[in-house]
C-alpha cells in the first residue's frame, strides 16, 4: 500500500512542521544541558542501515539530522548504505536512538516521494 501522489503537498508540509518542532525542541534541550551546571551529555555513536535513497534524499536526510543539534552525522558510506550518527542524549540506549533515526528517515521518505509506503511498517495505516 502506497500513498496517493496527490497527498504529497500535505505530506511535505507535515514533514516541514515536524522538522521545525524537532529543531526548536532539540535546540532548547541542548542549550538547557549546557546551561545546567555540572550536567554532562551522555553521547553515543550508532551505525544506521539506510533504505534505498536517492542522492537528493540522502543529502536531505544528512542535513535534517545534522541541523537538529542533538544529532550529528559523522560518516556516510553510500555503497554500504550505512551512516554513523553521533547523539548527545543516547545514554547507552543505542536501539532507541537508532529507531528514532529510522523514524526520521521514514518521515523524510513520506514527505518527499510521490509514492511512499503508507506507514513505516509498510502496512496500511488504521
Amino acid at each position: 500500500m502506497t500513498t496517493s501522489p496527490w497527498s504529497l503537498p500535505v505530506r511535505a508540509l507535515a514533514l516541514l512542521g515536524w522538522f521545525i518542532r524537532q529543531f526548536i525542541v532539540t535546540s532548547v534541550q541542548v542549550s538547557a544541558l549546557i546551561l545546567t551546571p555540572g550536567r554532562q551529555p551522555q553521547p553515543g555513536i550508532v551505525r544506521v542501515e539506510l533504505d534505498e535513497l536517492s542522492d537528493a534524499e540522502l543529502t536531505l536526510l544528512v542535513a535534517i539530522i545534522t541541523i537538529t543539534p542533538d544529532t550529528l552525522v559523522i560518516a556516510v558510506d553510500r555503497q554500504a548504505r550505512t551512516m554513523f550518527v553521533h547523539g548527545m542524549f543516547v545514554a547507552g540506549d543505542a536501539e532507541a536512538f537508532r529507531s528514532s533515526l529510522l523514524d526520521t528517515q521514514a518521515r523524510l521518505v513520506r514527505g518527499v516521494r510521490w509514492r511512499a509506503p503508507a506507514s513505516r511498517t509498510g502496512k496500511e495505516m488504521p
Binding site: V30, I34, I45, P69, T71, I74, A75
Partner: protein, 133 residues
Amino acid sequence: MTAELAVTIVGSALLILGAFVIASAAIGLIRLPDLYTRTSAIGTAAGLGVSLIIVGVVVLDFSALNLLKGVIAIVAQLLTSAIGSFALARSGYLTGSRPVATTAPDELADSAASPRDRQIDDGRALGDDSATS
C-alpha cells in the same frame, strides 16, 4: 501601547534571545568534553541563534521584500551550517579527534576494528564517496 512600541519590544526580545543562544553555545564550547559534543553545541548557535537574530531583524525592519530575504537567509543558513558541521565532524574524525570515553556505544570505533574499514585509521577511506565534492 502603540504598534511601533510592540514591534520594538518583540524584535528586541528576538535579538536578545538569539544572542543568548549563541552565548550559551560558546559556554558549551568551553564546557563540553569532545569535538562532537562541541559541534552539537555550535549547532544551536548556527540554527536557532542565527535564525532568531534574522527573524528579529525582519520584525524590526519589516517589508515584504525583507520577509522574503529573511526566509531565504534562514533556509540558506540551516543548509550550509548542516553541511559545515558534517564536513567538520567527518574531517575531525579522520584527523584523529576521538570521542570522549563516556561515549557509549561507539559503533564507529567498533567498526574501525573490522578489516573493511581499517583505512579509517590512516585518515582516508571512510565516506570518500559521500557528498563533499
